[in-house]
Amino acid sequence: MHIPDGFLDLSIAAIFYIMSVVVVGYSILKMKKQEVNGALIGIVAAAIFAVQMLNWPIPGGTSAHFVGGALAGILLGPYAGCLAMTLVLVIQGLVFADGGLTALGANVWNMAVVNVFVGYYIYRALEKANKSVAAFAAGWLGITTAAIFTGIEVGFSSSFKYSLLTAVTVMGMWHGVLGIIEGVITAGVVTYIASMRPDIIESKAASPGKVAYGAIAVMIALSPFFAYAAELVGYSEPLENVAEMMGAEEHPIYEGILPDYTVPGLDPYIGTVISAITGVAIVMGIGYGMKRAE
């Protein structure tokens, strides 16, 4: 996910430098106010660097690695987590040339800001229901959102000739799948620490606040866009591809109210959007009901 030099237009790189400097600068100020243990940031950053070497193979002969943005946010809190991830990215850029100098602002934005803050607030929003599930969702959605931002940055750059749609779809889809492993590792670590040293995690607790709900709202608002993008590039479920290759045919016992995420008689895209809104409304309704039941 590290963007090298040459992939971004200078104007876009500059915008993300400014935004990252603002957020990282604000994080440093917040840490000073909260008197965070300074050594903790550096040493946890070194630990995250080590854990980032966890590689898993992906089709095509390459591999993906653990990023740990959401984990940093959960363990250190969003501000210290943001700084720790920034340190990791600076070392990777200046010692291993992994990630460009001009692209450093964008890389920090994706992996130290988006990944950390989205991951942290998702965890805080869901932890009361189940800590393991909350950590899994944080790890998974944090990395996927960061990947989507990477796609947006390179997609908007005229230096990179692939369209915005292609860049966002490829990054979002790949990391949506690969991010499951990120989520599993995050959940495993957080569950263990929560049982052995709950003070480490609980001391970073804060009310999710408007930002969390805002972030989740943005992700929900973006989801129809990805459905549209997937349709444009002809994406279909891997299982459906396999079934087609094997000549298997679908014989549903029950079609459901919204068959194949569509509304009978309506345009398929509008049907998908309505299905998405209905699904989100049902999940939110159940969540609200559970909260009221407490």
Binding site: G6, A50, G93, T102, I185, G188, V189
Partner: protein, 247 residues
């Protein structure tokens, strides 16, 4: 899958232990240039390389980088050995765009790759001629916030130790494992091991913080005026920039 993940950590640990004790080559003039200027000079070279698709301008920067590598004792071959992988990766990403075989598409793919290669060359020259400690001191000299610089300095210094710690945790787990266990069991135990690793990290950080307070440790900033070599480097960078503008 989990065995591959475990193996990757072991391989990475060995790699980094060797990487961090690598030599910086035969010291040439670039090794003695002030790290503050080198940091800014490298940034300038990268900006010049990625802000154009003009073949002569990119080649001018690429040539300048190779001249720097050749005359500073680093060696062109050593730099090329370090940049080929990322360059190839970038080439393969944009290669499908040249499938039409139209001249402008093929040229775009080549220039895109050359821009990436040039930027990587500039960064590798900095890496190979400047110990990271000097880069950190230079950042402090350039007025980067102290919390940022001291965090960076600590993170760099503790990377090998954290790798060793992680290896120790994994080795202990392996020695306790009597049976292969189910996949779920392996993932659960793996999560516990990493959790333990992070708990140890927190405890170590608390001890280090106390020790630092007792000693009063602080990152030293690069200060002072520039030497004759620094001025020569500045003139070289100014000439390269002028060349880039004129051609």
């Amino acid at each position: 899958m989990h065995e591959l993940i475990e193996r990757s950590i072991k391989e990475a640990s060995h790699y980094f232990q060797n990487f961090f004790i690598h030599d910086y080559g035969r010291p040439g003039f670039l090794h003695r240039v002030d790290a503050r200027i080198k940091l800014l000079g490298t940034f300038l070279l990268v900006v010049l390389a990625v802000s154009t698709f003009d073949v002569t301008k990119i080649l001018a920067i690429f040539t300048s980088c190779l001249v720097l590598a050749a005359f500073s004792g680093i060696g062109v071959l050593k730099v090329l050995k370090r940049i080929w992988l990322f360059t190839l990766f970038s080439f393969l990403i944009v290669l499908p765009l040249s499938i039409s075989l139209r001249f402008e598409d093929v040229l775009y793919v080549l220039l895109f790759t050359l821009r990436v290669a040039t930027s990587l060359t500039a960064i590798q020259i900095l890496i190979l001629s400047t110990p990271f400690n000097d880069v950190v001191y230079a950042m402090r000299g350039l007025r980067f916030p102290e919390a940022f610089v001291s965090g960076l300095w600590l993170a760099y210094r503790y990377i090998i130790l954290m790798f060793t710690e992680l290896m120790r945790v994994m080795l202990a787990r392996e020695s306790r494992r009597m049976t292969r266990g189910s996949h779920m069991e392996v993932w659960r135990k793996g999560g516990e091991s990493l959790g333990l690793f992070f708990i140890r990290t927190f405890e170590r950080a608390e001890r280090v913080q106390l020790a630092m307070k007792a000693r009063g440790e602080k990152v030293i900033a690069f200060k002072g005026s520039f030497s004759k070599l620094d001025k020569i480097y500045i003139i070289f960078m100014a000439a390269v920039t002028l060349w880039w503008i004129v051609i």
